[in-house]
């Protein structure tokens, strides 16, 4: 374990639920993980596995009024974010913790200029001293938007999807946050632009030693920049592994399935591997392991009790009865 002062973010037993008319949906159910300073971690899982809700919980922006953080701790720089007032949180957001949403086209307000929307990050953190426009232009320069001096006064609808994503990233890193959460930052983009965007994030990390949580279901993206992978399934983290271990030697049957379902160049297969079955219904989750109904290696105990987290070796934990 790293020393305390290396740790930027520690999420402990986080539970976030949605209280709907149909019942309580435990979108995030007892999730714990840490992010060290300067570390890039990948949060992997299929849609509905709780990745986005986890990140919104860290921001304390779970959709209201249905969503609520039920219990747990989110410790950021030795302070529990859940004890902070709304005003204190607001001051942290966009300044110390930042986030990039997945769909750039709808995450920018179509009625406001790009410059205004970047400028807000400075303005509301008391950093708009006279040369706000220059600062915005610098942000655009940083994310390599061509001719930033004119583009700064344009509206988002005059930008392409890739350019919008750059603007969002620029906004996200404008105040050099200590933690950047990127929610599927490359999903909406084509491959060449994906690579550029990833490079931008790497640069950010190298320049400012920021930590990045990269949320994605795309394993290729993870492989490019992450050092650690957290696999989420049905609102829980099922495996935590260093990137190399994860690819070479995935331990959880779900992780294994994920790796297998990635097509490998030059390797001919009759049919691409797919994990059978449907993601769990979080309104009525399986009583035991969430993955049990789809697991090919399931034992009797799997359907009765949720497996504990087992440390296989340093920095590699898995929640599965195969090892318990």
């Amino acid at each position: 374990m790293a020393s305390r002062k290396d740790i930027l973010l520690e999420v402990k037993n986080l539970k976030t639920s949605f209280f709907t008319k149909k019942g309580v949906i435990k979108a995030v159910d007892d999730v714990s993980f840490t992010v060290k300073k300067g570390e890039v971690i990948g949060l992997v899982g299929e849609s509905g596995s709780g990745k986005s809700v986890t990140s919104l919980s860290i921001m304390r922006l779970v959709p209201q009024p249905a969503g609520k953080i039920v219990s747990g701790e989110i410790i950021f720089n030795n302070e529990n974010l859940l004890n902070k007032s709304e005003t204190e949180m607001r001051e942290l957001r966009g300044n110390n913790i930042s986030m990039i949403l997945q769909d750039p086209m709808v995450s920018l307000n179509q009625l406001l200029t790009v410059g205004y929307q970047i400028g807000e990050t400075f303005k509301h953190h008391g950093k708009a001293d006279g040369n706000l426009l220059d600062k915005c232009i610098n942000v655009l320069k940083k994310v390599r938007v061509p001719s930033p001096e004119t583009r700064v006064n344009n509206y988002p609808f005059q930008f392409s999807g890739g350019m919008c994503q750059r603007v969002l990233i620029g906004t996200g890193i404008a105040n050099n946050p200590e933690l950047l959460i990127a929610d599927e930052p490359t999903t909406a983009l084509d491959v060449t632009i994906q690579a550029q965007i990833l490079q931008l994030m790497k640069d950010l990390r190298n320049e400012t030693n920021a930590s990045i949580i990269l949320i994605t279901h795309d394993l290729a993206t993870i492989a490019q920049i992450c050092t650690k992978v957290y696999v989420m399934y049905g609102g829980r983290i099922v495996e935590k592994a260093p990137i190399k271990d994860f690819y070479k030697n995935p331990q959880h049957p779900y992780s294994e399935g994920l790796i297998k379902s990635v097509p490998v160049l030059g390797k001919r297969v009759k049919r691409l591997f797919a994990i059978e079955g449907q993601p769990p219904n979080l309104l009525h989750p399986p009583p035991g392991c969430r993955f049990e109904p789809r697991c090919t290696k399931a034992k009797k105990v799997c359907s009765q009790k949720y497996p504990p987290e087992i440390e296989l070796k340093k920095d590699h934990q898995v929640s599965c009865w195969l090892y318990g």
């Binding site: 949605f18 709907t20 008319k21 149909k22 949906i25 979108a27 849609s47 509905g48 986005s52 809700v53 919104l56 959709p63 249905a66 949403l101 997945q102 769909d103 709808v106 179509q110 993601p279 219904n281 979080l282 309104l283």
Partner: protein
């Protein structure tokens, strides 16, 4: 461009999967609204059985009696009598029929015009669509009240005038909404299949597209009836609609207004009847909109 806000809201996928259908779950049944509607239809259907007196029978010796709990009132006339000694409760009960007849008459006229134009416009498209939509635009820039004023001054005030004029004035809303539905239905597989199978255009419109707009029309009609009841009562009140001695809530209010200083019940109860009925239709309409969820009807 006008609908930007609404479409965007759907894309943020952080809501858990069950939330997608959650919208329909949160709807409470409007017991109050349904009760008011039930009361209204009960009056319409059983008017002859439940009204204590002939609503037209006047008895000048019993003119302007107050309701039973007031001094001078009697249980014989629960809600009192008007200046001609006609029993107010009976007139209110019978007045429900006039409201229903007028609103159904209006809807029948403008619904037919609107649905047909909307179907043609949406289905045929191209030039026809453009012409019909332009016509709709023009029609919408002329307030309905004008058409009514015109017709009243030309053919004279009567219930018939009200039905015809609202009928002529009201169709653009229907046309627009049916057109919108039609445009999206046109892209659906079952319509394409029907086309491939060689169905005639009229047949596709009548038996494939129209039935699928029923939900929307039901919502629209329920909400519109509420509006028409208010409008027709207003016209009667102004003397531009139903004429005496008909039982009509708006007309009763107009007649009672002259006696406002000493017969408060004559201007109160017919209005309560209108308000209750309209609240009933509005609440039910809101509820239908939530559960049937038509895309085209504005909130």
């Amino acid at each position: 461009m006008k609908e930007s806000g609404q479409d965007i809201s759907q894309t943020f996928s952080i809501a858990p999967p069950d939330e997608a259908s959650g919208k329909k779950l949160g709807v409470r049944t409007p017991y109050l609204g349904l009760f008011f509607l039930g009361l209204f239809f009960f009056m319409v259907i059983f008017a002859d059985l439940i009204s204590p007196y002939d609503p037209y029978a006047s008895d000048l010796s019993k003119g302007t009696l107050p309701p039973f709990w007031e001094k001078g009132g009697s249980a014989a006339h629960l809600l009192g009598t008007d200046f001609l000694g006609r029993d107010q409760l009976s007139r209110i009960i019978h007045g429900s029929r006039m409201s229903l007849i007028v609103s159904l008459g209006c809807i029948a006229i403008y619904g037919t015009i609107g649905v047909i134009l909307g179907l043609i416009s949406g289905f045929v498209g191209g030039r026809t669509d453009m012409i019909i939509m332009r016509l709709t635009d023009i029609w919408q820039s002329v307030p309905g009240l004008i058409v009514i004023l015109l017709l009243v001054s030309v053919i004279g005030p009567s219930a018939k005038t009200v039905i015809i004029s609202i009928g002529i004035a009201g169709w653009p809303g229907y046309a627009r909404i049916v057109r919108g539905e039609c445009l999206s239905l046109k892209q659906r597989d079952f319509v394409r299949l029907a086309k491939v199978a060689g169905c005639s255009n009229i047949r596709i419109m009548a038996s494939h597209i129209f039935p699928n707009t029923i939900n929307t029309l039901l919502v629209l009609t329920t909400m519109d009836i509420a509006g028409i009841i208010v409008l027709s009562a207003t016209l009667s009140f102004l003397g531009l609609g139903t004429q005496p001695p008909s039982c009509d809530w708006g007309l009763m209010l107009a007649e009672g207004r002259q006696y406002i200083t000493y017969a408060w019940w004559l201007v109160t109860f017919p209005g309560v009847a209108i308000a209750i009925t309209v609240i009933g239709f509005n609440l039910t309409g809101d509820w239908l909109r939530e559960i049937l969820d038509p895309k085209q009807v504005l909130r």
